[in-house]
Amino acid sequence: MGKYIVRRLLQMIPVIIGTTFIIYAMVFALPGDPTAGKCGERQCPESFVAEYREKYNLDDPLPIQYAKYMGQVVQGDFGTNQYGVEVREDLAKRFAVTGRLALMAIAVEIVIGISAGILAGIRKGRFVDNLVLVSTLVVISIPIFVIGAVLQYFLGVRLGLFPVTVSSEATTYELLLPAIVLGSLSVAYVARLTRTNLVENLRADYVRTAISKGLSKRRAVGLHALRNSMIPVITFIGFDFGALLGGAIVTEGIFNIQGVGGYIYRGIQVRDGVAVVGAVTALVIIYLFVNLIVDLLYGVLDPRISHD
């Protein structure tokens, strides 16, 4: 186990280098000059463009730009973005908000998704099952920007149940509605995955055996079937955490949350390579750790899976 973890930690190094390089190359390859749009709809003065390109090493070839950047990163310096703010400082603030938002969305997924999945699974084909099917359908088929706008308008503006947008303090209450919106699509996945696996496992002989041996159905479901059904669900939640951190662009926009998704999006739009690469690198590291934890959880949920 210890050896496995060490090996995985070592493997992270090439992944981080690979990702940062790909991202760097992608930002580098984006069409559109980084200075375009800095001066409204007119072209920027040449002197401004020249100065700017020099400041961000834009005239160097890609590998050299990348090397210069990584040289700084290794020393713990993520550089300063186009707005003259240290990326590290910016990211710390934004990850704090987005991290909480993502964790709350995951909590929503686990609470609503897994319970809906269990209900639907043990009552397969009944009313509850169909109800879960139809409600998951709704969230799957309506794009997130519509769900967000509708909930914000009705629950926030009309009924006043939730704050309409998130202030810079980003309290838990303010983040609740955005977390529900953000988690809604994944709730559908979690519910369906739980249901399907549970149904499969419930029909398995070992559950029937357990029940025939006098184990209560509740215990059979809870102890055997459910535990066996959780691996795909945990896998999904694991990679979803990473996706929620960086992919909450639309939700962040609707609720005016100053988070990582919006930071990356804006970074892409204004061609702020340093900001984009910094944010994505941090994402990769978090994502890798979550993945490692998920892989270790496999062993806990199913002892037959070993990591030797």
Partner: protein, 306 residues
């Protein structure tokens, strides 16, 4: 998990009585034919596919005919679903939108699922450095924000006046490019759970070729989660296309799709919600049909449920 449970799991999964003459496929087909869910969903899908192939069968109205002076009209006898912000007939738009939406949904799902499943099985089955390599490459791709990839892709291949299928294919490629890693991981986890089972170990001991083990033991037993996710993905991809349009990088005119319609209608959320309702309804029905079909197929093919 108790020792007993493991043994039983293994046992249960291997429950097919020996000596049955019928093949897995024949069994599955028989089961499908008996399942009403299958027939309902198949009929719905047939209608949608027909709509995609031959829209003029359903409407005579030209979906590109804009009557701007009647924009945002509520449903009426002339325009059954009303008109949208450009004055297009929403009914005609919804019918003609089926093609692009279904193409995006089906092909993206097909690509991501195939790539994801193949890599996931390979990683889990062979383990060791193969697993490490595939898993780490997956990690790299997973970390790239879909949006960055999509913007880059769309701008690397800018389109003006592209033919229909090129426009659609670009969106398919943009989503597929970064959509497969999730499925790889899911498939890997699912296969890892199947591998320790006795029947797999037994087949290995008997010297069966990896391909044979994968095909006849691993795949049928590990498909459940990936089918669930793939059928949901199909709907989610159709909706994602709308989100891409919302961000300005989705399908482009002259292509008509449900996503584009939904995106165009969002401004009317508070005032003229019918513009939003109908494309969303059709999208929901399509997703419903595919999810039901997925359920039915999975039930039929999963050896554990028999």
């Amino acid at each position: 998990m108790t020792e007993q449970a493991i043994v039983e799991t293994a046992h249960s999964s291997d429950a097919n009585p020996v000596g049955e003459a019928r093949s897995l496929g024949a069994d599955a087909r028989r089961a499908l034919a008996r399942n009403p869910l299958f027939w309902i969903s198949a009929t719905m899908i047939f209608i949608f596919v027909l709509m995609a192939i031959w829209p003029s069968l359903f409407t005579n109205t030209d979906p590109t005919e804009a009557v701007l002076s009647q924009a945002r009209e509520r449903p009426n006898s002339e325009a059954w679903f009303g008109r949208d912000i450009q004055g297009y007939d929403i009914y005609a738009r919804v019918i003609y939108g089926a093609r692009a939406s279904i193409l995006v949904g089906v092909f993206t799902t097909l690509f991501t699922t195939t790539i994801g499943a193949a890599l996931g099985i390979t990683a889990a089955y062979f383990g060791g450095w193969t697993d490490s390599l595939i898993s780490r490459v997956t990690d790299i791709f997973f970390a790239i924000p879909l949006l960055l990839g999509a913007i880059l892709f769309m701008s690397a291949f800018p389109s003006s006046n592209d033919p229909y299928f090129v426009v659609v294919f670009k969106v398919v490629a943009a989503i597929s490019l970064l959509g497969w890693p999730a499925l790889t991981r899911l498939m890997r986890s699912s296969v890892m759970q199947v591998l320790p089972n006795d029947y797999v170990q037994a087949a290995r001991a008997l010297g069966a070729s990896p391909w044979r083990i994968i095909r006849s033991h691993v795949i049928p037993n590990s498909l459940g989660p990936i089918i669930v996710v793939a059928t949901i993905n199909l709907g989610a991809y159709i909706a994602l296309e709308a989100t891409l349009s919302f961000l300005g990088i989705g399908l482009q005119p002259p292509v008509i799709s449900w996503g584009v319609s939904i995106n165009d209608a969002i401004v009317g959320l508070r005032t003229t919600p019918h513009m939003l309702f109908f494309p969303s309804l059709f999208l929901s029905l399509t997703v419903l049909a595919f999810i039901m079909l997925g359920d039915a197929v999975r039930d039929a093919y999963d050896p554990k449920t028999r």
